[in-house]
Amino acid sequence: MKIAFLFFLTWAIIFLGSFAFAEEEYKFDLSEIEKKPYHFGGYVELRPVLFGLDRDASLYKLKLFNRDEGKTIEEYNGKLQLEGSFEKGIARLFVRTNFDLKYSYLGWEHNDPQRMIYEGYLSLKPSPSLTFKLGKQTLLWGKGYAFNPVAFVSRPKDPDDPELALEGYITASVDYIKSFQGPLKTASITPVIFPVYKDVNDDFGTVNRLNFAGKLYLLLYDTDIDLMAMTGGSRTSRVGMDFSKNITTNLEVHGEFAFINNQRKKVIDSQGNISEAKFDAKSYLLGIRYLTASDTTFIFEYYRNGTGFSHLEIKDYFTFIDKGYDLFLSKGNDSLLKKAASVTEGNYGRINPSKDYLYLRISQKEPFNILYFTPAITTIMNLNDRSLSISPELLYTGIKNLEIRLKAIGLLGGRGTEFGEKQNDYRIELRVRYYF
């Protein structure tokens, strides 16, 4: 019934919207292109979600052990993203804020006010070759679509929604660009100063450290190549590289490689013994983007996460949660579950906790000549335990400034597997976004 309602709502918005804008006339008024020193815009989003719970899953037990929410739970999400800029001479001030509001079985919640500013920086551009930036900014490094092992100075993106805006960090950076004739067409260098102190990027890593990062970009023989590094003590030192190249008009290949020195991870065994492992991690990614003559796009990536857990380590973690849940049921004692929770955040609970993943996204642009309509299906597979997620989606952008997406995610996997032990069996969501 709830699913039918989401479908009806999607259809109603598209149907009514197409009439609402049908009578609009077109013209090219030159006042539309008049440049103003300021800009204000953004979007407002509504996203109701229906979760189908897996009451036998370990992560359900960890999170909802003391509640009974039935077989499904609903969540109503709202988002307001605002951005504004002001430009004068060589200076530009840019701010992007993000306000999330959620109503769920836990009641009303919103994001931390300190984290509402996604970006806010001043840039100075004395020439097209040189740009200085100071403030909170998102520096996204890497060529991968779903995963970026070389994204050393940004927050991890969600492979379920890789195009979502991410909150930045407070940094100072410079872009210096130089163009050439010959096989090397462009070289640019981006040094970054990354402070981590109390109340300044303190969720990044060890505080009271001034970190340095940098990226060198080359367009060499029609191939994008980046070399990047980071050091300073808040996180262990790391170096990386990426590349991207069009082999033909419809085939692109890309890859990333990262070497992380002295990576640490906390491992819990099935008895609850916690140990810390320290090792040098190598992560890499290989991917292609292929467009067929019928406008079907395939994005395929293999990701080796050198910092991830083995299948056995993840299985032990779930076994320990199950033990903790049994103890809670038998004696009302939640101490083991609390212990499991302590190694979850930023460890087992991070995005992509395992070692090997395959990502495949197939999207079809405007099938059956339905303009602005893009159906797609995405799957993320954990190669170590053969569990996976499958997400079909329908996207419609045919109404001016309105974007409607209906998406479902099904999680498949046996006991002790990453996707099999997630809190939900499935999720269905409708996202309606209006840009202004």
């Binding site: 049908a22 609009e24 006339e25 077109y26 090219f28 030159l30 539309e32 292109i33 440049k35 815009g41 979007y43 430009e87 551009k125 020439s127 097209p128 070759s129 740009t131 998102t138 996204l140 490094w141 890497g142 060529k143 679509y145 890789p162 195009e163 979502l164 805006a165 991410l166 660009i177 163009s179 067409k185 462009t186 640019s188 981006t190 970009y217 367009l219 029609d222 994008d224 991207s244 190249k245 069009n246 033909t248 008009t249 419809n250 085939l251 692109e252 890309h254 983007r289 467009l291 796009t297 405007e366 000549n369 303009l371 045919g398 001016k400 400034n401 309105l402 974007e403 840009y435 202004f436």
Partner: protein, 280 residues
């Protein structure tokens, strides 16, 4: 007649120079022959062999280059409105600012609608990238893809000079028009073949058919409403496009504020993509 002979003289001078022959601006001396004698012999031979005077031959490449220059200066800035019209009359409009330098550097940014504002594109020869502000980094795209929905694809929006991407295979006169058959220089070009009809007097395109290697028609571009943009730029201000692949749909491109402008090479780089709007 006099003008055509003059053109032939220039052409022979060009060929002589290209083949290493020695010439000065007044006379060409090849194996002791006077320039005028060569011309006379060529004219007589051509009439005898083909029955058609040689001065009627058209240099397709030069003509195509002339058409390119009449459409745009080599380096420029311009504004365009792209409109997709559906069979039921419903329209979607996009406003696009673009800059070009030399033969193969082009960059642009969408100014409207709000959902696409800030999306920028870059083309360096056969390489194309798309930058989406929310995503925050440029991604490589292909020329056949479309950054917006509808009949236009990236190659239409980020089009380079025709002469940069195509060789002229055949050129002929058809009434008041030239008809050029063009073949892509490389496999990286979006349309393998173009049939181009150009106004003979204005040397501006009237209609272009875009075809696959097998000769299948992908779309037809109609050039309309010639307008004086100032600075000596007089060209069609509207391009209408239809496609047998999108029956009943139509796309329209309206041009405004085309003007010659020079840019530094660094503007046409991945790192500069988030800043393209600052060039306005």
């Amino acid at each position: 007649m006099r003008g055509e002979i003059q053109h032939l003289i220039l052409r022979i001078r060009f060929l002589a120079a290209k083949s290493g022959g020695v010439y000065n601006t007044k006379k060409i001396h090849l194996r002791g022959l006077d320039m005028r004698n060569i011309l006379r012999i060529l004219l007589v031979l051509s009439v005898l062999i083909t029955g058609v005077p040689a001065y009627a031959a058209i240099d397709g490449t030069q003509l195509l280059k002339q058409i390119d220059r009449n459409l745009n200066p080599e380096s420029y800035e311009m504004y365009r409105k792209l409109i997709n019209v559906e069979p039921n009359g419903r329209k979607m409009e996009y406003t696009f600012f673009s800059v070009k330098k030399g033969l193969d550097k082009l960059a642009g940014v969408f100014l409207a609608p709000a959902s696409d504002k800030g999306r920028s594109t870059l083309r360096l020869g056969d390489n194309m990238w798309l930058y989406i502000p929310n995503v925050g980094k440029p991604i490589r795209i292909t020329s056949l893809q479309s950054v917006i929905g509808g009949v236009f694809n990236n190659a239409d929006i980020l089009s380079l000079d025709y002469a940069a991407e195509y060789n002229v295979e055949k050129v002929e006169e058809k009434g008041n028009e030239y008809f050029l058959q063009l073949k892509a220089k490389t496999k990286m070009v979006a349309y393998d073949r173009l049939n181009l009809w150009a106004d003979k007097n204005k040397k501006l395109p009237v209609k272009i058919e875009c075809l696959t290697e097998a000769g299948m028609l992908i779309k037809t571009l109609y050039f309309k409403e010639i307008k004086d943009f100032g600075g000596g730029i007089v060209r069609p201000s509207v391009i209408e496009t239809d496609s047998p692949l999108y029956k009943g749909y139509k796309s329209i491109m309206i041009f405004a504020k085309i003007k010659q402008r020079d840019f530094k090479d660094e503007v046409f780089t991945l790192t500069f993509m988030p800043n393209i709007e600052s060039l306005r």
